[in-house]
Subunit: 431 residues, 2 copies
């Protein structure tokens, strides 16, 4: 049995406690920035081993979290996100090992050049510093985020959801053991030891300059609060209002395959398509088969404009608010548009700059779409569910960002670094 929760509620002076966490994180970040890749990898190996070794304690802590949350009347969806079992604990350990296997981005020279006066200038990757992660009930984020921050040389301050407090503590204990045994500061990955919401406010304020970036992991209300209140940069996306445009030169077979995958493979992920736009020139041949496939084969609700309703009597009328809605469910808004420009204009108006795709065999139309749609990820003839760091080959991601600065799209180890310029001379002065 884990310690009673009361004991981690701190002294009441949350602000002072959080400031101390910030200072310790900054000190740890300085050490991590200079730690060799082998030492960080050793810590990751030890962390994975400790998670496996402490499986019993992790599952016991999780059972307590589950019992308390169930007694409070939580939804089954929340309980599922919270629940761990042997397979999920193993997946946590394996996830740490995946991160361990990634190349170390720190120290990579991304550009170098020599000036006419003989000075060489290198642009080299360095860690961002201290990353604050604010998440909800999924206890695995503790390990996923902690491992990715460590790999990229950053200190992490983790603030998990109240429901998963004991589970996160048990997982964090394993991470701390790995850090300690590898000779790295335990403060490299800190777990905020209180459920008090004032701790979140303190993190959003940046802990006196000791948090460089905040990453929220959770539902839209959490992300919205973080984006509205944070005084430090945030890597996040509020929602994925993902579009697919069926161009007049689209292959119907490919359109059916891609739309089915993009909508139904998993409806709750941010890369799931939410609005289908069909070129009016393609509607006579493509609209009815696509709608019937979704209704009959996939059990997907369709909300359409007049033209789509005319294609099948089961289509529900779309309201203005359906355009721009992230359903995260087996519901698709479908609209007939007057060609490529109208599709691009619709996406500019209703989209969320996350992921959008065109299906066409016309290379010029594809290039125009890829150029003009202003989203982090734009695809031609591929499923929007590829919007994922793993599918990009990043190995792991801490999230997907739709901001324009620094990190955009899937945020992997490389995006958790910044850079500095190293200049080597032999006595050059500026004239």
């Amino acid at each position: 049995m884990t310690a009673p929760l009361k004991s981690i509620e701190g002294t009441g002076d949350i602000a002072a406690a959080m400031a101390g966490i910030g200072r310790q994180a900054r000190a740890a970040a300085r050490t991590l920035a200079l730690s060799p890749a082998a030492q960080k990898d050793r810590a990751l190996d030890l962390m994975a081993a400790a998670v496996r070794a402490q499986k019993t304690q992790i599952l016991a802590a999780n059972a307590e979290d589950l019992a308390e949350t169930r007694a409070a009347g939580a939804s089954s969806a929340l309980l599922d996100r919270l629940a761990l079992n042997e397979a999920r604990v193993e997946a946590i350990a394996a996830g740490i090992e995946t991160v361990r296997g990634l190349p170390d981005p720190v120290g990579q020279v991304t550009e170098s050049w020599t000036r006419p006066n003989g000075m060489t200038i290198e642009r080299v990757r360095v860690p961002l510093g201290v990353i604050g992660i604010i998440y909800e009930s999924r206890p695995n984020v503790t390990a996923d985020a902690g491992a990715l921050c460590l790999k990229s040389g950053n200190a992490a301050i983790l603030r998990g959801g109240s429901d998963s407090t004991r589970s996160s503590r048990a997982i964090h204990a394993a991470l701390a053991e790995g850090l300690r045994d590898a000779g790295l500061p335990e403060a490299a990955i800190q777990l905020v030891p209180t459920r008090d919401r004032a701790a979140v406010g303190a993190m959003l304020g940046g802990l006196d300059g000791n948090i460089d970036v905040i990453v929220p992991r959770g539902g839209k209300s959490l992300v919205a609060r973080v984006q509205a209140e944070a005084r430090v940069p945030v890597f996040a996306h509020l929602e994925g209002v993902v579009h697919i445009f069926i161009d007049k030169a689209a292959s119907l077979a490919m359109a059916k395959t891609l739309v089915l995958n993009a909508k139904m493979r998993r409806t709750g992920v941010c890369g799931a398509v939410e609005t289908l736009l069909v070129d009016r020139a393609a509607a006579p041949t493509h609209l009815k088969p696509l709608v019937e496939m979704l209704l009959d084969d996939a059990g997907c609700e369709i909300r359409g404009d007049k033209a789509v309703q005319a294609a099948d009597g089961r289509v529900k009328p779309a309201s203005e608010s359906d355009w721009g809605t992230e359903f995260l469910d087996a519901i698709l808004a479908v609209k007939v548009v007057d060609g490529l420009d109208a599709a691009i204009a619709h996406i500019a108006r209703y989209g969320s700059h996350h992921t959008d795709a065109i299906i066409t065999d016309d290379a010029a139309a594809a290039e125009k779409f890829l150029a003009e749609v202003d989203s982090a990820i734009v695809l031609h003839n591929a499923s929007t569910q590829f919007a994922d760091g793993g599918e990009f080959g990043f190995g792991a991601e801490i999230g997907i960002a739709t901001g324009r600065l620094h990190a955009r799209g899937p945020v992997g180890a490389e995006q958790l670094t910044t850079f500095k310029y190293r200049i080597r001379g032999n006595g050059q002065i500026r004239p």
Copy 2:
């Protein structure tokens, strides 16, 4: 004579007027993002020509600004920053042509790879969007910033200082002519048409999401206000507390050359050295010659610790506040430290993460310094006054940033872009 100032004070509803400027900038940014390099370059050529053609009007407007500012009792330094003459107007035109000659960063593919399923992923540069520039009395910033934003496909909202209102308007008129004649939207470069300080507040609030980045150009109080109040990312440095460390393995001749240049070439620039750290092991041979050179040859005031005071009776005692001070004048703080680690620790405590240098013939010491000092620019055996976009080969810069995210060091055309991922498939779905 330019129009009376009253006419540009707006209707009193600054918030509504600024919101309109934001919307126009966003619309222009969409056009610019897709404008071919040749069209942007044509506009830059026409802008430079228009500045030259309208020299008389620009100088007349500047004379009015100068008269008003002189009558208000301004300092000679402010009047010098504000003053234009034929040579300075020509330099403004030539600066636009320099930017025109840079490569267009937009559309550059910085990475591309193919996934095992055959999808290709490209990371391609796209503009940031809308950049707000808040500056003080130098009227040339109007053209410099406007040109660099245009080159990188961004719309610019310029808010110049009250002293230079008429000069900025006259220069802006030339820029607008160039945009118009090249068929680009005039709203690509807008000048805020009011002296009301509420306009600055509105920009710092981000104009309803229509400003992506703010760049302050001016003194420390302006930058501090912008950094404290902005609700959008800021590319800036508050100050350049620049250090040079004289290692025990430094060549005295090189140390003298570099320190003299780094301090005295121009004392008012952000790359000017402000604190000299001398290894205790080098002090017996290097300290006195360096101090005497600065005092005798350069007329530089020295504020030193006890060991430095002992080297020359003219050295003034340094107070604690001298460490970490950006003098921007012929004043240098000098301290003897116990080796490389102590130097790095001093810089971590008192530095501003801008630019720091080591002088040594010991390659290992140099590499340690370059690795461990956490500044945007770190140099070995070269003058700190190379901290400049032009000296990096960027052609032009909008400023130097010390933030950790996105832009760091000199901010040139390339740093005014972000990226998106373009994915090309042939029907791939996610398993």
